[in-house]
Amino acid sequence: MEAPVQATIRSLDPRVTRLGIPQELPEFTPKPPLDEWQTYEVFHQARPGEQPVHVGTVHAPDPEMALVFAKEQYARRGTTYSLWVVRTADIYAFRSEDADIFATVPEKTYREPQDYKVVQKLLRLKRKSHGSSSADAPASP
């Protein structure tokens, strides 16, 4: 009697069938913890002079590879002039439990920058309606 041949997984996908994966999987040794690439934050710049906008993250072993991946994740459609990547660990941010430090006492609305934002929105709109695609730096307050 020959030894029984172990049944392998048959899939609709011929590539999976070809792998000859046994139906009864052997026990896995879990990977050691922290065996992960670090993450990079990706910023997308649509046109020269425009502000890069944060669009997401990628896993990568180094900045060059982060650019390689960012291109396919975030620049496949639409217009792209450049991409920036920054190691997530290099970004300093407030902790969520400190969010209350941004609360403002209502009596000081004269100090809020809303007006500037509106002015910049109007400027952008004007530039657009004049058919210019170049985005000059907004007038700083």
Partner: protein, 264 residues
Amino acid sequence: MVPPLQMPQLPPEALPALKDLLYRMADDALIIGHRHSEWTGLGPILEEDIAFSSIAQDKIGHAYALYRLLHELGEPEPDHAAFMRDAPQFRCCHLVEYPNGGYDFSLMRHLLFDLAEQWRYHLLERSSYEPLAQLAHKVRGEIKYHVFHATQWVVHLGAQGTEESHERMQRALLQALPLALGIFEPSEYEELLAGHAIFPGERVLQSHWWETLLPILERAQLQVPPLETLTPAYGGRRGQHTEYLQPLLDEMTEVFRSDPTAQW
């Protein structure tokens, strides 16, 4: 069947030479695109899976564009050119036919192939055959990214990875190099193509390729055997293929051949 276009700049004796060049390029792109696509869903990490799948799609796009040029010259329409021929009618090199193996071989093949593609299209940007020159200009950015992707990986695994990754890239290089030399298998049309300024020829292409390849492999800290010790895997350009091509074609064409007249 579309009749051949009137091409005042293309003398009739150059037509078979041009078609042969286009079939070689189109079949290379189609088959390596299919091989790359076999990694879809199986890539090492999500980001890379997406990037490599996207490169595979680009290759199929290049093949489609080239089959369209052939169709304009009187050859069958793209779907039929891609899906209705068998191995002996294909003009791809052996390098693209080989099974994916591990990611080491797939990446090394990707580098060796795309560096040659980059040079080939660069030279073709000045081709006297205008439609091909235009296509070469159009694909420049995509292929630049393909080379960028391949170089990053090969250098990373060769020089910045582990001992195992270095060894595996070295093995992959030794396996893939003779196959890659098959890209440049000369045809009977070399002089004709160069004479009509359609394409300067495989020999010119190979020397550009080799000069650019060496510094990349040096950055990857890989040992390169002397060129003269390698036996190029020729035959593909004459329709003599490895045992791997026909099974690939059977699988790739199964759906199309089940009803070639179906409207998709």
